[in-house]
Symmetry: C2
Subunit: 502 residues, 2 copies
Amino acid sequence: MSPRDPHDAGDAIARAFDAEAFRREGRRVVDLLADHLAAAQAGRTPSGAALPVLPPIPPEAMLARWRGDFPEGPTGGGLDALLARVIADSTQLHHPHFVGHQVTAPLPLAALCELAAALLNNGMAIYEMGPAATVMERRVLGWMAAQLGFGDGAAGVLTSGGSAGNLTALLAARQARAGFDAWSDGTAGVRLAVLAPASSHYSVARSLQVMGLGAGAVEPVPLDGRLRLRAEALPGALARARDAGKRVFAVVANAGSTATGSFDPLDAIAAFCAREGLWLHVDGAHGAAAALAPETRALVAGIEHADSVVWDAHKMMLMPALVSAVLFREGRRSAEAFAQEASYLFQGDAAARDEWWNVGLRTLECTKRMLSLNLYASLSLLGTRLFADYVARSFALGARFAAMVEASPDFELAVAPDCNIVCFRHRPRDCAGAALDAHQERLRARVLESGAFYLVQTRLPAPLAGVWLRTTLINPATSEADLEALLCALRDAARAPASPAP
Amino acid sequence: MSPRDPHDAGDAIARAFDAEAFRREGRRVVDLLADHLAAAQAGRTPSGAALPVLPPIPPEAMLARWRGDFPEGPTGGGLDALLARVIADSTQLHHPHFVGHQVTAPLPLAALCELAAALLNNGMAIYEMGPAATVMERRVLGWMAAQLGFGDGAAGVLTSGGSAGNLTALLAARQARAGFDAWSDGTAGVRLAVLAPASSHYSVARSLQVMGLGAGAVEPVPLDGRLRLRAEALPGALARARDAGKRVFAVVANAGSTATGSFDPLDAIAAFCAREGLWLHVDGAHGAAAALAPETRALVAGIEHADSVVWDAHKMMLMPALVSAVLFREGRRSAEAFAQEASYLFQGDAAARDEWWNVGLRTLECTKRMLSLNLYASLSLLGTRLFADYVARSFALGARFAAMVEASPDFELAVAPDCNIVCFRHRPRDCAGAALDAHQERLRARVLESGAFYLVQTRLPAPLAGVWLRTTLINPATSEADLEALLCALRDAARAPASPAP
């Protein structure tokens, strides 16, 4: 790099911060995204061509499309041109045929909030680094806690994702119920464990392994035929763990599970935890939102007894990722999970724990984004009912899709869905076992290659053992007609001749 | 909630996704933010009034300004009106008088990328959930690794913040150097520890406590007079840890430290780690960017020998929070840190570890934001030199501010700054000890109340023991004249009569 002239360098940096250039570029980007949004919701590109839900380009070929040798000086190129390429090479969550993973087609209003949050960049580790963001977070969490039925002592944090949320909750559980000061003393010398169904998200096991508890830290609780935790199996699981020399500190339950969206029976599980003095953590990343609508509230009956709940707003609350709430029935638990001194941040001491406005004391993050802005603005401007309606409609669509699958002799439903996650498979005659599994994988690959739909697959445990197609009806633009088209596309894929061996 | 009409509910949801409404609202938001940006860079509001760097409103009063009783239906209010209130109640990172924490005034271009990333919402746990985002992340990480001097085998991940980054790196270190399969077997039988200076960010100790290693897991390494790790003290620290029955698996070094921005001598530390078979983790959240400019490169000499480096782009690379890179000299370490099965995500098995395109295998997060977009776009369109220039100019401004402080008989410099973090204090006659500490706290509080500047304070260890004012010259708009004004503002605050007891 050649020697720099400080004055020229300063000019270049100042130009990069020019507000009028931002205004011009910003309008172009908004126009680009608006054109894309309108078209994507109709399954089209702005020029009217069919929009693949997933660009049919494998990783190495995609890598070749994006250069890694960045120029030394400015190119003069516009951001809108680059973003047009990004759009074309991305997965289209606003396409009505996106029925894949549990990441939502976000509200455009919420995306605009992210623009403001990014520009203001209030880091929120302490109140001084995000006054409005801090109180908005408190308001949003208060509203969410009330929806769950938590009382006045509840509190929580927003954090960057459900995995971080599960880890945060399990740290609080460890601190509250390990029987000693695990945070200060460490956990060498004791084998801590939790009871959790095999249907739990992998971040539960991962969190425990992060915590140094090893792969044996989850004592599995058996599932029933709909892949829900069998509450009557809890005493046996606890006994098995104890017999193996483990000290159980928590039960993790799902509302609902990742693979099939099954809701564990929280009331019965909570009663067991109360009897045994165990922490109840509910992974409600997907389904805690069921608390919002009268039609779906029964699915989470008992959630008000949980000690902690994770609830991802980027799943069933239409927010862009990541906005995860970790809610504690007893709010003080959230500060007890992390007790750290950092004099450059926190002037106080133990008293600072009780300062709700210094959120860095209660999260894995120190600096974080203004996580609350999109949810606060959406609830304030659009109202709460829209979210309740969205949940109720999505779950109802899951039931209707299940009925469509059951009415189709060539398809098989895995379990009657509790929510908007539906697992099923195509069932050709004389096909079973490994061949049937391979058949599902082939169908999915063909449909993805065509760009017509994005759906996923999962291997379910016994008694359903095998590979199943998995859909999450998370985009509010997805209709019954789209789901009919999905079944047709899968039938077409099943009829297509086997592709020649590569 | 009254019973809903499914059709009406669908209409309301569809309206919330209307692309033309997004276009109109988006233009208003861009205009609002452009007006704000132009004014804030001049220390003004758009109407020409003085803009407080930090709104002088305490937490409880701020809470009262933001309602928590969200309406059931839409209010018809505009997002721009709500965002205008958010701006007024936020900390102004683009104000030239923001010299507070290490969170940057972000590039407006990068903020626009966040809008696109939020709308596209490609969650990136696997390639299918973010094709473009995945390869852009690989390109950005490849460029960053090359800047550090890492070879071809290097790889890494982008994650949500430096704290998550330090945890990720320490998990990899544990797995590589604990001497057994800590991930699978757990760490119950052994007391693991790291060597780290007391100047380390609190997330290092916090990460180890998350990992169940307790408060005793950091064996402190003594500092020199400029608060840099004394490399010659490493053997003694290692011996002390071992004598106490701890198994040391890593050394954590700072480039630079949080409180004073001191850069530890990486070359000498790396040589020690190589001799002892210890993992070297460099927390370069703030200062790894020194590698970008010839004028500052020497500060991180030896970083190419580190096993892992954390580098926050939201600190010295002008990105909005959070964009943290965790870079591994041996890329395979990043997958070894997390070995988890999740059949609904990863069709493969052990082989999937080698699939660079499924990033969920290598991060704490499952879903994450399109973290790479802002950095990829900024490097592509603005060029790399702008970032090198920014780092060199910021660090040089730190040296000039230190000279200004030293030239002022009423101010005292803590240590000659290595970078753009400068700690100093006001030194009235006949004031020492606790009174001098209280004096700094009072000055800071008065300046913050006036809204004129945002600076922070920190308690430094011996030999500097006491409370110091702390500035980070992270906003490229901050000039020497602004820093002269800061010293004047502090002098004025020192002269002001004591406020009446509350």
